[in-house]
Symmetry: D3
């Protein structure tokens, strides 16, 4: 089985990103079903055909034209040297505080004498992104033996001289008693396209639609809808509490002097606002989950 040219050929990252990518597409409105034995997931849209690749190789196959588009980390776009050969359609940013971009950091054991990048002269460093790290040391004019590391990289900081490894919250760095010398690269997920595919109008429109729905689904993940009833006399008070950039939907209730107010909020604002709204006279406050938010 291969991927027909007449469809939008989409690369889905397998491995640790697979489940969250499939869930994101589901929220966006596309059901991707993976049959355990196949690398060709089924998509409930006849115009799209999908294939599972490791995140590390997706940008390479986008450039080769084996797939039209795909999701992968910016780090592996850089490591593969594909930045200039692809179209970046969308950067998948996350608004929650804990969803920081992943960082590749150059680290040494706490007790190491190494203090700056210059001290690596003549040393051995292990990493999964060999090309990127070599370019980094070249740029800094330091001669380092950069070796490819197969897993458990963090322990090699002690067995060799240092490592360049991925960290999100820094907790694995701390747990291994390592010290960060420098951040080599920050990375988020990107939705990228092959340049020729982007030039084909229907493929481009399809990719733009997918991007819009992905963005709407991501936005919805950290938001909630809030409804409440407010006496008309207190409406301006209540509205003054709401974040300025949000314009609430106000509708008059039938035959009363109450209005119904509806607004979309960040879920973090919600926990601050609810107590204040209640004190300001709002009643019947409810919040409900959202599937998509398109401003």
């Amino acid at each position: 089985m291969t991927l027909p040219e007449s469809t939008l050929r989409l690369g889905v990252p397998s491995g640790s990103m697979q489940q969250s990518t499939i869930e994101l597409f589901a929220r966006a409105g596309y059901k991707i079903s993976v049959d355990g034995r196949s690398v060709f997931p089924r998509v409930d849209d006849e115009q799209i055909s999908a294939v599972l690749f490791r995140s590390q190789e997706i940008s390479r196959y986008v450039v080769d034209g084996i797939i039209d588009c795909g999701l992968c980390g910016y780090d592996w776009i850089v490591e593969n040297g594909n930045q200039d050969d692809i179209v970046e359609i969308l950067e998948l940013t996350y608004s929650r505080a804990t969803s920081l971009p992943a960082r590749w950091v150059l680290a040494v054991p706490d007790e190491s004498p190494i203090k700056t990048v210059k001290d690596f002269e003549g040393k051995i460093v292990a990493t999964e992104i060999v090309n990127t790290v070599r370019r980094y040391f070249d740029k800094n004019s330091v001669k380092v033996n950069v070796e490819f590391s197969w897993g458990t990289t963090e322990i090699k900081a002690r067995l060799l001289d240092g490592i360049v490894d991925l960290t999100e919250t820094g907790s694995s760095i701390r747990a291994n008693n390592l010290r960060v010398i420098d951040t080599i690269l920050s990375s988020t997920i990107r939705f990228i396209a092959n340049k020729k595919a982007w030039a084909i109008p229907w493929k481009r429109e399809k990719m733009e639609n997918v991007a819009m729905l992905l963005q709407g689904a991501i936005a919805a993940r950290s938001k909630v809808g809030l409804k409440m009833n407010v006496p008309e006399s207190k409406l301006s008070d209540v509205i003054s509490f709401l974040p300025a950039e949000k314009s609430p939907t106000v509708s008059r209730l039938a035959d009363t002097d109450w209005v119904a107010v509806e607004v979309i909020l960040e879920d973090k604002q919600e926990r601050e606002l609810i107590p204040r709204l209640k004190r300001a006279g709002a009643t019947g406050i409810i919040t409900y989950p959202l599937n998509k938010v398109i401003p």
Copy 2:
């Protein structure tokens, strides 16, 4: 422990259908709790008592009057010869493209010389639905030795002469390099009742209510609610995009020339419509999940 006559005695299919049935009832509003050790799940409705049976035998026990109603596949109603002895309350259809009815197909190896049902004369065929397959060959006036097959039926197409096996998407047929000669039976899930129980008014009303709520929950599964704000001047444009059969709820916003439009959509329409609505001038588009939809 047995099932009291004074309750609506409900047969819940155990095995592969158990989890999805319990989730469907949960969405319909009935919490069915299975204690690992018991075949009598607890239902949070004192008027209903439940028992777990294999889907294959539920229609038989409905006919016997051991249970008043139950859910099972149409295939086993036919195999047990119970079609005329039960009341079919509801066919559980699914609107998603991938939720096709299950089909029982007569299949042979790709390389078999058998081309039509007539070529089975004198052959051996394995199946789980022996009665149905015998009736099928009788109707076609072909003499075939039909044997009951305990599992892994698909492999027996090669060891014997052919099989009648269940397939949903046809993928297990293809994976085993089999060729379909005919479809014997298409099957969906049915909610069925014992005839005497159906004649008891309160039991019938109860079963109708359960059916209505099941149907509302199924309908909601493939739908979303959509809200947006539209300038009154563009309302007719926007509404023209919406599926004709849906009448949106339009309410005027307080002291503005905007209206709030709310509509229920198939989730597949949603992904087509959102880009068009946005271009037509809608703002603040949100979609949200539904529990039940009753038209």
Copy 3:
């Protein structure tokens, strides 16, 4: 790592209550992330630091001031003798019929000659809440040897003379063929505070906010939002079916003689009401899930 005094130090129960507590906080708006190796979960609120303790010891550490507040069962507050030394902020009641308070019952084998608490004179009883059971027998002026039981308490009713064990639905009591002599203690979950922490204004306000959001999330769990369109002429009929204590939100639809009615219902009422509303003339009935309900 320890818990900084400058934060609200929250005790989260580990073990069987851990997952449901974390989910409840998530619904309330606080994301608690447990890293497998650490007893210090991360909270996405810089003013709160959390620690996992067994439910049994949380009230003790609240009294000691090692944590400012926490969730635990009322039973262990009593067993530890901490009732008068803590502030009870919130009793977490559940409105679903099956979520009964847990009861500690004094039980004997069905075949035991023991009929009343007086018959325990000189006997051996096993329990996990030794102090509470001793106080109980003292109060009844019966001399009993109360021993601490490490798990599988229910079987000890037969090996010794009786037990005091926890039961929710009574099913483990029945499954072990035991007979209940008396209920010693009923217990629900409590959100409790250290008295000194409660006296610090910002900590108290923070705890009250958390309590309000927890309460809103619990209330939402057994409720749904319902919307429907009703011809104005039938509005009073329809409203008469709705539970008296609920005042629905009624808004006039633009340029029609229909109104949109929206109401929050117990999910158990929903299954009774939907058939009646439909017959009374409501159309486009939908129900949708809620995150929080604050009256």
Copy 4:
């Protein structure tokens, strides 16, 4: 893939007997490897090809000549009516007390008025071995409606009038509060052959060799080798303790008046004998595991 006629085609029971059968063959000297996706296990003997079938159907396929031989329960040979159409090569008996033959028993609830087989006149009985049970009631001249039962048979004793179900130790009967009326059939595992295959000399010799090695492996499972050193003067005493039917191997130790005694024992005798042998003067007693014992 099919099974070549030029090999000994062996049916291996899938399901609950699969793992123990494969382990038994491994002990006998044949390595059977099951690849998760295939029903054709690999055997490390080019003369044997294997296929996985459910134990229930193996005797039928042996009679049909689709396989030359196989292992299955005697119960299903009888249920399929194949007793006279196969060659029974070996009954796999087990010498351990707990490995009783499986029994199919006719059982009713403890509280049922039914006392003897005659009381079943006009009743409904559920079982998996419908043919056998029908023959049983015919033989007893009792008219009974015997229905095929799909799993959880034991609970049906209460919902219907009685069951015929499989029991090994009787514990599931007791756990369900059932009472045994009669034993319908006792069953052990049999190694059986197709009659034509048995008439082919090389196939018959191969099957006899397999049977001898299976038997040797089974015998070894409940036996141990025991060695000890004994002063010649006490040899006759020591030997008198050993089971009469065992003739120990006695060899003189070089240049001493001690002899080495070696004997094969049931593992249950071992635990009785060791204390007595030690007191009788034996030293350096060791026991060791066995792979095969062929007398």
Copy 5:
């Protein structure tokens, strides 16, 4: 179900020791089968009935006479204050270097100012063995608030002032950056008896037999049998390498000037000896596993 007085009533530790205890009894010759739902395992010896209790309570129930004998840690015999009220039949020592006795150690954070037991004056210490730790501090004339700890004790060294926790290799102590102040108690597993049961001759003999077989099975676990052929001329050389306390069994081979030498070795000696024996002229060296070794 209870335990009949006419059998030897054996307490088997449930929890973390359960599996290894059952395996040890299996090696000793007693098959203990645990049915998932019952605390009464089946033993393949009619004279023995067994019950699962937590290791912590076994000594208490031995003293109470609810069981005749059982296996448990010495630590909980001490904690329960039962040392003088039971008969210790056997200390289960292990000869492998890594199977050290478990130690309960008093520990503080690395950074704590506490250096000696005296520095605990007025502090809070958490532990599971409250009685033992209170006695320890009393003996040292230090006033300490000793609190019962429910799990994750090691983390409490930081939240309180110190802990007394169990450690085998010290690795959890190091992993938590704790420092050991003192060892409170060393503990091995003991096979203990009720004093009255011990006075009944047949029960005592039974327990002694079980003890002998347990000991033989433990001894065999770290030993192997070794056989080799040696030219008679080199026999004395070869024997000189063997551990002095082992007397090998030497038997002359038929019609040759070679002897067969057989000896039981610690498995750790084996890896040192094999190279030396081979160089000294031994051939055909094999080693084999043992079930029991009784010297």
Copy 6:
């Protein structure tokens, strides 16, 4: 933590080879314990310290001197270009027929027009062993774009032009409908040493001892010990059946004209020999498992 120079620093392959390597060392006499959180397993020999590395990098770290020795596949020694920079102590060959060396094969889809290596001119090939495959095509003077493949390589034969992938039995090749063009490399496991470590006498002796014990354990895995009693008159007959290269140990039984014969056999010979030995007059035939065989 690092590895002390004063010990023999051993690299243990993590991942798919980890469990089998640890079991092999256990059979050889070395207990390697992996604590879930650490890459430094504990070895019960103070002279050895171990570290877990991926098989792919072990040869590189042996060359670097970070470890003294290790086990890894020959394929990765070649891929890393380390053949001439290490000492190969032992090739771990397996005598069982099914334990073939792993082969890296160049494969294309069945339907591909490519027939020979020359047809790859200008094509794209995916593989995990990029260096080795590039050398292979260079040697064949074919220009090919060789790309590193992250997993699921077999599917890329269809998406690109061909692959070089690992296969043991060829079954994954067949399952993916691929055709083998050439075998690039055959690979077995090797025990290798750093050249400087090999020059240190005690390290070399230690490695040789480990190698001898590993070899003895591997040899024992496919062998069994066989004992039987034979009447002296039939001894030469019986011995004539035994494989010529095996010299049995014959010892005369005390005071009889029987001899005890003991021999070590391949387990595959066993199943052929036992029936013949029995017919030739041997009795009391037993076979038993072996731990080590050193010829």
